[in-house]
């Protein structure tokens, strides 16, 4: 006699049933065993039965302890909610010294200083940042090219440091820059104030220069590489991280991209799909691709990166993050993929004029004329108006996988997330059925691939995966250290 505890299930890989319980523990069953399990005729002395019991898919006698354990892990997984908004992105200017193909709509001319944030606005934002309950606020300077409004960055960092001391909080800073215009003085300041650098690198010269161009349409890779070296010289080797954007050009050439990351001494790579908003329709045709093609290339690249890890510790950060959700009981903060959605409650973006939006896409949408997601302006509205107001409450309440059509019954529910802004962009509604959506096609495809890898149960890959999750490079025996 046994009773079932709540779980989701799906067929991954074919002829196998993957079951995932409410708090994210998973197990694979053969089709016939699964049937006997749900039909309450499972052999209670079998290993599978005991495994399902151990992993809380069923209970015998009293459910009390099982529920207590599920609750404990569930609470831990959702504990990112307790921190509330911790990522604060400041668009300190819309100006940029580059004009990348995938960014045309959002970067302004280098001389257009009316698109700069003033220090007054920036300080108001910092005041707001420290009103959030988060004990570890992270302030990220974005643009355009934020370094073009350097004085505001400098003054804001100093102001925020004072606020952090006053409030006893631990603030961290990131500047997202294309690096090409950075100066030695700026780098020294960033080092002295422990501001880390996040930059963009799309691959080797030919691939990088294909999209990332100067305002005159010239190449940027060479300039980037020399500035990268300069930055490392000042800030130290591990101080610069890079993000890539996958376009139709790079999609089939991910190996070259990865090699370039290695050649330039990057700590790892985050293979990111293209954000489909913010550029003109004709570019969408040349740069865009279907989610399915992305998934294909992503999973192939992942195999390539596993092989690289035989010789060197080199994580793919997206896989690392998702595996960490799948294999550990801990929460993993990732604003773009959580439930409830991280929009506004985990991350918020402040436009140059002080307008607050729940995500960058929401801000772009406003630039295109639809201020649907506008939460308020730091110059006129209070923290409570913006972050505890009706608008953000309603947005958050409606943005949970648990209540989204399709997701509510999806086997990946415990690991996936929602993006109400994207839903709105695509359908005019914050909540939609995820069936056939590009968002779902991408994530479901990636999850399918990752679970196939787990099912393989290859000890080498598992060691690599855990070395990424725990950042313990010694988990993998490599020729380099013997």
């Amino acid at each position: 006699m046994y009773s079932l505890l709540p779980f989701q299930f799906g067929r991954v890989p074919a002829r196998n049933v993957l079951v995932v319980n409410e708090c994210g523990d998973h197990y694979f069953l053969a089709e016939e065993v699964f049937s006997s399990f749900i039909e309450h005729r499972m052999d209670e002395s079998s290993d599978e039965f005991l495994d399902l019991k151990s992993k809380l898919f069923l209970y015998q006698d009293d459910p009390e302890l099982s529920l207590q354990k599920i609750a404990a892990r569930y609470r831990t997984r959702k504990s990112f909610l307790r921190e509330f908004t911790s990522l604060h992105m400041l668009v300190v200017t819309l100006r940029c010294n580059q004009r990348c193909d995938y960014c045309q709509a959002s970067s302004a001319d280098e001389g257009a200083s009316q698109f700069d944030m003033t220090s007054e606005t920036a300080f108001k934002i910092v005041d707001m940042v420290f009103r959030s309950p988060s004990r570890h606020p992270k302030i990220e300077f974005q643009g355009g090219e934020p370094l073009l409004n350097w004085t505001v960055i400098r003054d804001t960092v100093k102001y925020a440091e004072r606020k952090a001391t006053e409030t006893g909080k631990e603030a961290s800073f990131v500047v997202c820059t294309n690096l090409t215009a950075v100066t030695l003085d700026q780098l020294s300041f960033l080092r002295d104030h422990r501001v880390s650098i996040s930059t963009s690198l799309d691959g080797p010269q030919c691939l990088h220069d294909m999209c990332r161009k100067t305002r005159q349409g010239g190449a940027t890779h060479a300039g980037f590489e020399s500035k990268l070296e300069l930055a490392r010289g000042v800030l130290g080797n591990g101080s610069v991280n890079a993000l890539m954007t996958t376009t139709a050009h790079t999609l089939g050439r991910m190996g070259e991209v990865t090699d370039e990351y290695l050649r330039l001494g990057m700590n790892g790579i985050f293979i990111r799909s293209l954000n489909p908003y913010g550029f003109a329709a004709e570019d969408a045709r040349t740069l865009g691709y279907a989610s399915e093609s992305f998934v294909d290339c992503y999973l192939k690249s992942l195999e390539y990166i596993f092989e690289l890890n035989r010789n060197v510790y080199f994580p793919e950060y997206f896989a690392s993050l998702l595996f960490s959700r799948i294999l550990t009981p801990y929460p993993t903060g990732f604003v773009d993929l959580q439930s409830p959605s991280g929009c506004g409650i985990s991350g918020a973006i402040y436009d140059y004029d002080g307008s607050v939006f729940p995500s960058d896409e929401a801000r772009m949408l406003a630039r295109m004329g639809d201020r649907h997601f506008f939460l308020g302006n730091v110059l006129n509205d209070s923290f409570e108006d913006i972050f505890a107001g009706k608008k953000l409450r309603a947005l958050t309440a409606g943005a949970c996988v648990e209540t989204t059509p399709c997701c509510a019954r999806c086997v990946y529910q415990a690991f996936c997330g929602t993006d109400p802004v994207r839903n709105y962009l695509e359908t005019g509604d914050e909540l939609r059925s995820m069936e056939c959506s590009p968002f779902c096609a991408k994530h479901k495809g990636v999850f399918n691939g990752l679970f196939r890898i787990l099912k393989e149960n290859d000890p080498f890959k598992l060691d690599v995966i855990w070395s990424w999750i725990t950042k313990n490079r010694f988990l993998v025996e490599r020729h380099e250290n013997c």
Binding site: D25, L50, D51, K53, S54, K55, L56, Q60, D61, D62, E64, L65, Q68, K69, A72, R73, L327, T328, P329, Y330, L462, D463, W466, T470, N472, F474, L475, E477, N481, C482
Partner: protein, 364 residues
């Protein structure tokens, strides 16, 4: 020793003289004392096992028991023989509580007052069955020896009562380590091994209660025939639902007491569980949990398990086989329980200096 401080002490002397007056007792290999001398033990043999500062008990039958070794780091306060479990592998079969055990433990604490102590282990039986009297001992340990590491060896069941757990947390002043035994990821298996239904549920609820109160918990898992095939699943359950513990220990069995009586039912050769143990240890290590293996000799561990094997057997009952003399790893090896009625001597394989078996280099 000034006269006024002698009354709480026992004098250890080769022969008795005037300088032996005023003590609570004496211990000598020489002649019996005179009228003024306190009661004591004379013509003793083996007194070299007793050192200055030890706390000893003299019994009228002439035995001397060292209750507390001044230079030992493995001292225990044995508070009761009683237990609310009846484990198949208990090295010390539970019996009804003898009040003398607690009195003796408290006397040891009296003697230790104002001494600097590094480590105190509260054990039994099951210390918590003493209720308020256990709390008092724990409270004294943490208050009188704030610098000591206090360990409580327990089956954890009574901490399922939040009120008792709360009182324990305050008595321990947030410092004690609660070493809770958990022998399976499956309730029925654990309950069968410990001979009491409901123990698994109570122990796990107890661990949650302790953790909620901020108490440090260590998990102790004794490997036996009844549970070794699920060692890896045990590791996974610990990581999934109890990842907050301070330490996880897999322990080889001491074959004495009940364990000897139930030998056929519970004994399993280290060679038989070697692979399962490796999987379990590696699964915890991968996930970043602090894991150790206690009581398993190095040559009976797999290569990957070896770096996690500790010298864990109290020195007074720690022995080695004759073959061990030639072994190059003896100084790092746990060896065997001298108290065990059965030793897998034929399985022992000494390491040689020149053999390139050293795996630890890659696991640094």
């Amino acid at each position: 020793m000034p006269f006024y401080r002698r009354s709480g002490r026992i004098r250890l002397a080769d022969t008795l003289g005037f300088d032996c007056l005023g003590y609570a007792g004496y211990l000598t290999e020489g002649m019996k004392g005179g009228l003024l001398h306190p009661d004591g033990i004379y013509a003793a043999s083996g007194t070299e096992g007793v050192e200055e500062g030890d706390i000893v008990m003299l019994t009228s039958d002439g035995t001397v028991t060292v209750l507390w070794g001044a230079n030992s780091s493995q001292n225990s306060l044995f508070v009761t023989k009683a237990c609310n479990c009846d484990c198949l592998m208990c090295p010390q079969p539970p019996a009804i509580h003898d009040p003398q055990d607690l009195v003796r433990a408290e006397k040891v604490l009296d003697c230790l007052r104002s001494r600097s102590v590094k480590q105190i282990c509260i054990t039994g039986g099951e210390p918590t069955v003493l209720g308020a009297r256990f709390l008092k001992v724990l409270e004294r340990c943490s208050r009188e020896h704030p610098e000591a590491a206090v360990n409580v060896l327990t089956n954890g069941k009574l901490f399922s009562d939040p009120e008792f757990a709360g009182k324990t947390a305050s008595a321990s002043n947030g410092k004690a380590l609660f070493c809770v035994s958990l022998h399976s990821d499956i309730d029925t298996v654990h309950d069968r091994l410990v001979g009491a239904r409901g123990s698994y549920a109570a122990a796990q609820a107890g661990i949650y209660n302790l953790a909620k109160l901020g108490c440090a918990v260590e998990i102790r898992h004794v490997i036996s025939k009844g549970n070794f095939n699920r060692l890896k699943r045990f590791s996974e359950q610990m990581y999934s639902y109890f990842p907050f513990c301070a330490h996880y220990a897999f322990m080889g069995m001491e074959i004495c007491g009940q364990a000897f009586k139930n030998f056929d039912e519970i004994n399993v050769s280290p060679l038989e569980y070697r692979d399962c143990l490796e999987e379990a240890v590696m699964s915890m290590y991968r996930a970043g949990l602090p894991v150790s293996v206690y009581n398993v000799p190095l040559c009976l561990c797999s290569e990957k398990t070896r770096p996690f094997a500790r010298q864990s057997i109290s020195s007074w009952k720690n022995i080695f086989m004759s073959q061990c003399e030639e072994c190059s790893k003896k100084d790092k090896c746990a060896g065997f329980f001298g108290t065990s009625a059965f030793l897998p001597g034929d399985l022992v394989r000494p390491f040689r200096e020149d053999a390139c078996d050293d795996s630890s280099a890659c696991w640094g």
